[in-house]
Subunit: 476 residues, 2 copies
């Protein structure tokens, strides 16, 4: 997961529940509901998702987009999809600018010399040979940096020390991701020589959180890195002593041409309407630290687990089920954008979708953006999820998750299946994103939620409102 | 803290409570008890310990024995002791073999190539240029390695994967420290080329736990490192797939001559018996990762905090109070051994002592090894500590803590003030040993305990039984 889409879109989109139902209602048959209930309960005893997640993180490990494991991960996933018995498995090209990390280090040079645990941000350029050494100027928020005059920033290393607290809905990531994604560009515009942030994380481990940053057009990219939370607090303590503080950064990283990657897609082909599909998945890339377990091997694993249970039914559902392992979500939803571009003109076939990309802890809420005539079907799906502890907010929109938000943007009806993010930002984009952070029981609960939604969407009589522009942003 | 002394000594020493009181009882005066009570309550509002801990970890940082911060830390401490108003501040030489770490890395080479987060153990030699590459042979305990035949080990990298659980008394450290301190020597005796252990820690962070190892006389030192817990579990998963697993280790580290360090000692000089003293402290060295906050800046801070409160009384106590910042505890109690060697023939002057070296969380138990005639005074001290949540086990021995166990060994009466170690082994000997792990409120509780013990021992009428050989190991 890269950015707080839930929040952004909740603001941008009107609540579809406010619209008026005019056409024929979308309905679910009683025997399909009974089947969905059985699938849900089977999911709570099934380890397909765990096995996928364990396999990908153990046998491939970290999967930086465009890095040496990018192709290896796709080959692994294709082989696994085939072995799991999907009807079709294919790849669709996704190209993107490649960023590489070679090494990084940093230190307080004076007045109290000591190493700093830091990590370069994706898209950061490297420092000059020998490193960058400059005085630090600190801000406690993005807004404070925005308000700063250029004279205080020019030639310095800007340090933004904005803390995040853990919440179930992860909303403080809005604070950290804003500093990370937009802070370096803003600092550069004011003449800064380099940029440091307190990691966008809720832990106190000396494992800094990487993640992508972006420089606005025409702005000179400057070296940008995240300090671990303890290191940010240490730097703040040194600064609080009132003497000028000099820091040295040595980042060896940067852009390195284009890379031809791919989304990997698996399908259970529908027996009646094969061109129409429910779509789910996660992203196959990860940051180069950790093994990309909660971000986002588990997301693909959950979708695979749900699809596998449906595949074991006596017959295929009416519509198809598609599972996507997206390319390069981390640097900017490249896989999601490529998918949306390819399917935009037939977006009506994507009847409903949701991507899992906020870890592997239990789903606690469902929301949906669907046509008014399909609201009753969503109500029924939500009722089946209630025993799993899933709340239902019928008034709030769904957005489809990170990459699939791009499909939603071009008109796909979308669910949001909110995972408990309380622990997620302890590990997100760090070396700590490893398999031991995945709780098998909570993972199974995720599969149970997805299998209900996927099966009933694939069996529903009537659609959910997917159509070009169907959920476009309304004028305020 | 280096080794589970509490456990070892609890076994070795008889319970002194079983002995018979024959002489004049050691007594505490009512007004001294009232003063101790006031000091205790003041301690709960005093931040001297925090300020010491914050200052040392922020302005000096990591303090590897013999490293570049060794002298700097002593100079910082001497200046701080003087500024705090101790009557005397001095250093006493401690020499020890110096070990240096330059760099380290490791990776699974096949069948699933990936980096491993590991850290060399203190006293480990480096690997040959280009690194050491060998097949891994795994054991789940020290005993399993001990039982292994040489043919299965020869030429291989031994991997011992023995998990630890968190407990208030930290007793599982007995498992991990045994593997770490004795495993490499045992593996070398069986012909192993290298050694890896699952970190002696209770966390799941990719921050491996260093610590000292020792090679028995005549045994060839082999490269030895600790994997982080997630990496140990990852290696175990790769091994569980049943194919031969090759690992590469590249450790650049090793012994580098002798170093002339020192214990730093501060004294409040007693007004009536200046040569007699209560002794407390912590060790000034730390591992080179982290900033040595819980291990063991806080230990010295607690002693300093207690002494400072006593210094603020209208007059000095009858006996002296000594605070010791020990040299090189981590590689083998060098500071403690030097102190004991120097004062062994006048050990009777060290009336009672206790070192703080298990973090900064609250003290939950007091035990003591004292002469029978002093048991009543200990009972009274324990009664004053009960409101702080401190349990009292009158039947169990005290051992004085890590370095001061050496003073106890030569005859000093000793307390054990057990800190809650539930969280300690999450951070111990890792990059995560930083100031944010110190809870100011629990730290103050420690000071409250120490100030009561220190003041009353310094004021007691009669001694606690310190004498050459007084607490020597009894024949079974």
């Amino acid at each position: 997961m890269r950015r707080p889409l839930a929040l952004a879109l909740a603001v941008l989109l009107g609540a579809p529940a406010a619209a008026v139902a005019a056409g024929k209602p979308t309905t679910l048959r009683a025997d399909d509901i009974a089947t969905a209930e059985r699938l849900r309960d089977q999911a709570l005893r099934d380890d397909t998702a765990w096995n996928f997640t364990e396999g990908l993180t153990t046998e491939v490990g970290a999967r930086l987009a465009g890095g040496e494991n990018d192709l290896k991960a796709r080959e692994w996933t294709i082989a696994k999809f085939k072995a799991l018995g999907f009807d079709k498995v294919w790849s669709e090209p996704v190209t993107f600018p490649k960023w590489v990390r070679r090494s990084e280090s940093g230190a307080i040079v004076s007045p109290h010399p000591q190493p700093l645990a830091l990590i370069a941000l994706g898209n950061s350029p490297g420092t000059p040979t020998g490193g960058l050494e400059a005085e630090v100027v600190a801000f406690d928020s993005f807004d404070a940096l925005q308000a700063a005059d250029e004279a205080s920033v020019r030639g310095r290393i800007v340090f933004v020390n904005a803390p995040m607290q853990a919440h179930r809905d992860g909303h403080d990531y809005g604070i950290g991701s804003r500093v990370r994604s937009r802070g370096p560009s803003l600092a550069s515009q004011k003449g800064a020589a380099g940029f440091l942030l307190r990691s966008a994380g809720t832990d106190h481990n000396r494992l800094p959180h990487t993640g992508v940053t972006a420089f606005a057009e025409g702005v000179k990219p400057i070296p940008a890195a995240a300090l671990s939370v303890p290191d940010a607090e240490q730097l703040a303590r040194v600064l609080a002593r009132g003497k000028p503080v000099t820091v040295r950064l040595a980042l060896d990283c940067g852009m390195d041409g284009e890379y031809a990657g791919a989304n990997v897609i698996a399908e259970l082909t529908g027996r009646r309407e094969p061109d129409e599909y429910f779509i789910m998945g996660g992203h196959l890339d990860s940051w180069d630290v950790g093994t990309g377990a909660v971000d986002d091997a588990a997301g693909i694993g959950i979708a695979v687990g749900a699809a596998k249970l449906i595949a074991a039914l006596p017959e295929r559902p009416a519509r198809s089920i598609r599972v996507v392992a997206f390319a390069n979500e981390e640097s900017g939803l490249f896989g999601g954008k490529a998918l949306a571009a390819k399917y935009a003109d037939k977006i009506g076939n994507a009847v409903l979708g949701s991507e899992s990309d906020a870890g592997a802890d239990r789903i606690w809420k469902i929301t949906a953006s669907v046509k008014p005539e399909a609201r009753g079907a969503i109500d029924q799906i939500a009722a089946l999820l209630a025993p799993l502890g899933v709340e239902y907010d019928a008034a709030a929109p769904g957005h489809g998750g990170s990459d699939l938000s791009e499909m939603h943007r071009v008109g796909m009806a979308a669910l949001s299946l909110y995972q408990d993010a309380t622990r997620y930002f302890d590990w997100h984009h760090t070396e700590n994103d490893t398999l031991d952070k995945v709780d098998p029981e909570q993972l199974r609960q995720n599969v149970a939620v997805y299998v209900v939604a996927a099966y009933l969407a694939a069996q529903a009589e009537g659609d959910f409102g997917s159509a070009p522009g169907a959920f476009a942003r309304k004028a305020p």
